[in-house]
Symmetry: C2
Subunit: 517 residues, 2 copies
């Protein structure tokens, strides 16, 4: 999976002392799982006829209804130049054009991490897990829900770094609202770089902040390396239905032109932002992704794009988004099929839930999202851990509870071991009828790795569990994340690069007044 990885040049770009090299050597090697290489078949829900219906309808949307590209003359000009019919900000794509334009996007691509061992391939049979993205609030069982701070952001970066089943550090782990809105992206990016060595995402809240993200990865990886490699993967939401706004288009263009990857993701609350049916939602989603990907390819043919969909259904009682329900599950399965036919890596799912707290509702909903995500063959899984309250809160307990599930998915996706050891016929012969396998040689030899070991589940007797305080899963999770943060050790970073990053941020922060809205 990492055979096509080029080592970043930056490590040798600046003079670094022997102390830094020694620090790197001495650093305790954390356990880390590679990205999942899926060995089980795909779960699919649409047959050829169904796929063709949805694809036909998407082309109809692109041709007849059109997609709005707002506040971006350059985008309109590029699309008009390819033969789109542009009326004001409405772009109508002749049938088949968008799919043709998308064909230059790679089927898979490599996203480099500053630690080459954490570099990832996005696409193919790979599945990559990243944490929750976006919540302004924090939920722990220790205190009432509160606004997130940069300290929380750093904590989640540390937890992501330490978690073997998290492959990618993600992006907006929470929204640090204690920092100015026009500057916080710098501290957020720095927290990913400093406290982890995994790949991460760029800022999309303003084109200039996207440009800052590119500037910082140029410092980290070297300009030449970034010019020729993908080191950022950023989240471009469509304003569904059928609109891309100027902010998102601006960020998309910055990243595409820099050869960096865009996750083009219609953000769907079905019944509000798309029709209240699965097939209708799928057609609209496909049209939106085709349109956004077309623009990325016009900015730079070959710029990596991931086909994203964030699917929720609507509570008919409250109008709120609901998760873990069957309709979004069908959207995930089917959208993954559409992405594969389009030849793009796919992003969806995660550990989504509507529950305010990490209770049974949260767990049912998260599991009912995560397992379909994996069985659908999703390549990039944002919100893999920590999501609560429909994305309004990042939860510490939820984070470590979810990562336990991510670890299980890694085993499940590996499929059935059919080796001689896996077949275990010698054990069956040795033990025979009426005996037990506990002490047999095969069980002893496979004891350590035979079964997934949960970090959260309590499987002791009820008596022992009561003697230990009759704790629920959330209480055990509370202890676990605190233990992890207490044991955290930062990965080494080249002091020259660290200094240059801080210089860049200080200069940038000094160049403008703080803004909080």
């Amino acid at each position: 999976m990492t055979a096509d990885v080029t080592a970043p040049a930056a490590a040798g770009r600046r003079g670094r002392g022997s102390s830094a090299r020694r620090e790197l050597r001495q650093h305790v090697k954390l356990k880390q799982l590679p990205a999942i290489l899926r060995r089980i078949p795909l779960m699919e829900v649409l047959d050829e006829e169904g796929l063709q219906i949805v694809e036909h309808n998407a082309e109809t949307i692109l041709e007849e209804i059109g997609i709005e590209f707002r506040d971006d003359e350059e985008a309109l000009g590029l699309l008009k130049g390819e033969g789109c019919d542009v009326k004001g900000t409405r772009v109508h794509f002749p049938r088949g054009l968008a799919r043709k334009l998308c064909s230059t996007a790679p089927r898979s691509f490599v996203q480099h991490a500053r630690n080459p061992e954490r570099t990832l391939t996005i696409g193919g049979n790979n599945i990559v897990f990243a944490p929750v993205y976006g919540p302004p609030f924090i939920r722990t069982i220790d205190e009432p829900r509160r606004y997130a701070t940069i300290e929380d952001f750093r904590n989640f970066s540390k937890l992501a770094y330490m978690t073997p089943a998290i492959h990618h550090n993600g992006g907006t782990l929470c929204e640090p609202v204690d920092l100015p809105v026009n500057k916080r992206h710098l501290d957020m990016l720095y927290a990913h770089i400093k406290y982890s060595d995994k790949a991460f995402m760029g800022s999309v809240t303003h084109p200039e902040r996207a440009a800052d993200s590119v500037s910082m990865v140029r410092i980290l990886f070297g300009e030449d390396f970034v010019a020729n490699n993908t080191v950022l993967l950023s989240l471009i939401n469509a304003n569904s239905p059928m609109v891309f706004d100027g902010t998102m288009l601006g960020a998309l263009k910055v990243y595409a032109k820099a050869g960096q990857a865009n996750l083009i993701t219609p953000f769907i609350l079905a019944g509000a932002m798309s029709p209240c049916t699965v097939a209708g939602t799928l057609a609209q989603v496909l049209a939106e992704v085709l349109a956004g990907t077309s623009l990325a390819q016009l900015c730079r043919p070959g710029a990596p794009v991931v086909f994203g969909v964030f699917a929720s259904s609507m509570s008919m009682q409250s109008g709120a988004p609901t998760f873990g329900t069957p309709e979004p599950t069908l959207v995930i399965f089917a959208a993954a099929q559409l992405a594969r036919r389009l030849g793009l890596p796919f992003r969806s799912g995660g550990s989504l839930c509507g529950s305010k707290i990490p209770d049974a509702q949260a767990a049912y909903e998260s599991a009912q999202t995560l397992l379909p995500t994996v069985l659908a063959g999703t390549n990039f899984v944002l919100h893999g851990a920590g999501w609560l309250e429909g994305g309004l809160a990042s939860g510490y307990e939820k984070f470590v509870m979810d990562t336990d599930q991510l670890g299980m998915m890694q085993v499940l996706a590996g499929g059935v071991d059919l080796s001689e050891n896996g077949q275990a016929m010698a054990a069956i012969r040795e033990v025979g009828p009426g005996a037990h396998y506990l002490g047999c040689g095969h069980t002893q030899a496979n004891f350590e790795t035979a079964f997934y070991r949960s970090s959260i589940a309590d499987n002791n007797s009820v008596e022992q569990w009561e003697a230990e305080g009759a704790q629920d899963a959330t209480q055990r999770a509370n202890k676990l994340w605190k233990k992890m943060l207490a044991e955290y050790e930062a990965p080494a970073i080249d002091p020259g690069i660290d200094e240059a990053l801080n210089e860049f941020m200080a200069k940038k922060k000094a160049s403008m007044p703080d803004a909080f809205a």
Copy 2:
């Protein structure tokens, strides 16, 4: 699905008054979902080569190692008569013989309920949900864990009857330890018959109790009807590895000879009762099911059999069974494939968990068992609702939480609606870019049925949720099951049949002293 259903003759067998008929007419019709007709493809994890390896290994187990049939001369004689090599209680099947003997078992069969609308087809693309089976303890959030009573059993029978997504009333909903062990089966069966009108399971704790079960359904359905139709489905566990004991064999024979259905289920704690690998477990399971099914077919060719597997993995810390982990999930997917190739309906899965309480652990584990169960195409799902603590406790809150998940599975398995209404192109055209779908005609027309409505999830704002007491899912579930029991109304039953059942039970109880062990 019910096209091949014959109405039971019993309703007219005894004289019944006009009052009984009026009672039936006036009875409020409960909402009830039909058995799931799966319209989505199957999730499979073994390819042809993998399936052949497992099938070959199963034949090797049958031939070389053999299966123990203990305390049952009749079984040994029947198997010897077909060409098995019998040494003591060990039966060696010539390669291919067991599979040939199994070929007379039907690919699917109809299990009749006393309410013909609740009659079910077991097999094919159908999925049937039944409640938890077996726990001696009761768990609610109102009190400490305690032993189950017949009152609990009746309550779960009522809840099963009232739950639309429960299609089958199950069997040992809990073990009523307040009643004598040698008589409680009578009250348990009666509670299924009296408090519900759905199909149910027979007793297997003693061959005589199996015979009592058949006697009671003869009273309920009429002797002629039972002679020619299946009205009982009973759980025959193999004593894995590779043993059937005299109790289970006795019950199996009673049911098979009466044309009633047996669920032949190796009860597997992998690492103890089977090898600690998936492929090894599968081969042993297949061998055990082949052996048990062969005997059922020798008792009565064509007697319905369901290929069952109960799969758990072992906690390497405590030795306890663990659930919702990836290894049992792989067993479910693969065993369903083996059952289809053998031409038998398949039983596995459910809402299994190791957690003592209905917390996030319970929910993660249950969802991670239930969804694979459905995607595997499992035909009969025991333990669909209410299971806690590795099967030691039936939980009231867990029951209603799980049934909410069962309802979701019903929608999911229905697949994507590709009708014109499902495609929703008119809505997409009507709404257009940048608007929303909330008020459009299509949303209004589909509002009621568009999305699954959870009975447990809270999707209100955090402010409203806090104002309502900041309850977790378990607290809401506690209210729900109490409300259901408070609103319960018994289905009508023919007074003559009811009287005959009570006469039978009274006579049976008077015939022997109480036993409590």
